[in-house]
Amino acid sequence: MKKVFLEGAISPEFIADSIAKHQGKHSIGAHNIFLGQVRADEVGDNKVVAIEYTTYEEMANEKLHEIREAAFEKFNLTCLHIYHSLGKVGVGEICIFVFVSSPRRKQVYEATEWLVNQVKEHVPIFGKEILDNADHQWKVNS
């Protein structure tokens, strides 16, 4: 089982490290990366300052495993990685990192889009949006 959940924000250094790890695979010609960044959305007179993520981890890992298998069936990929934050991620910080690699570029964009949508729709992750007045509201994916 690949590790998906990381405590706190996903750092640019972590992303660089993931990229570097793929430079030994000489059949890869194209990578596509999606990063979700926490926005300072306005909520009435207030602003989002962070999102606190929780998950139903056992079920999430089962779902993510199914999504991975389906992606390899559907697209011509050399490898794929999905990382998601748990706990607090501040505005401007990265909470999801989807990384797809393939010999050729054709399918990588669609594969990334499909994976991000699958995670949003089917993986039990919950987000508490913390506002600058210390109130909160529960995030719902649109």
């Binding site: 139903y56 079920m59 999801i96 949003k120 993986v123 919950f126 508490k128 719902v140 994916n141």
Partner: protein, 78 residues
């Protein structure tokens, strides 16, 4: 013992992430009625997972000892 896991705004309402009900067996309907009487859960939007699979709330199903039930508010990953 039936384990029920709560998440998001439902965990907030139940003031707990998980509880175990001292029951050998009950129908899903009975379980949801019980939780509604305790926590007024029907005011929330949620899905039900039994043993980590989402099932329709109306499904006629007996929840037995060692089953793991979860109430899942709308997903917000990504």
């Amino acid at each position: 013992m039936i384990t029920v896991n709560y998440f998001g705004n439902i965990a907030e309402a139940t003031q707990s992430d998980s509880e175990t009900l001292d029951q050998k067996s009950m129908s899903l309907e009975e379980l949801l009625n019980l939780l509604d009487s305790k926590y007024d859960i029907r005011k929330f939007q949620f899905q039900v997972a039994v043993n980590r699979k989402i099932i329709p709330k109306q499904q006629v199903l007996t929840i037995s000892d060692s089953d793991e039930v979860a109430l899942l508010p709308p997903f917000a990953g990504g």
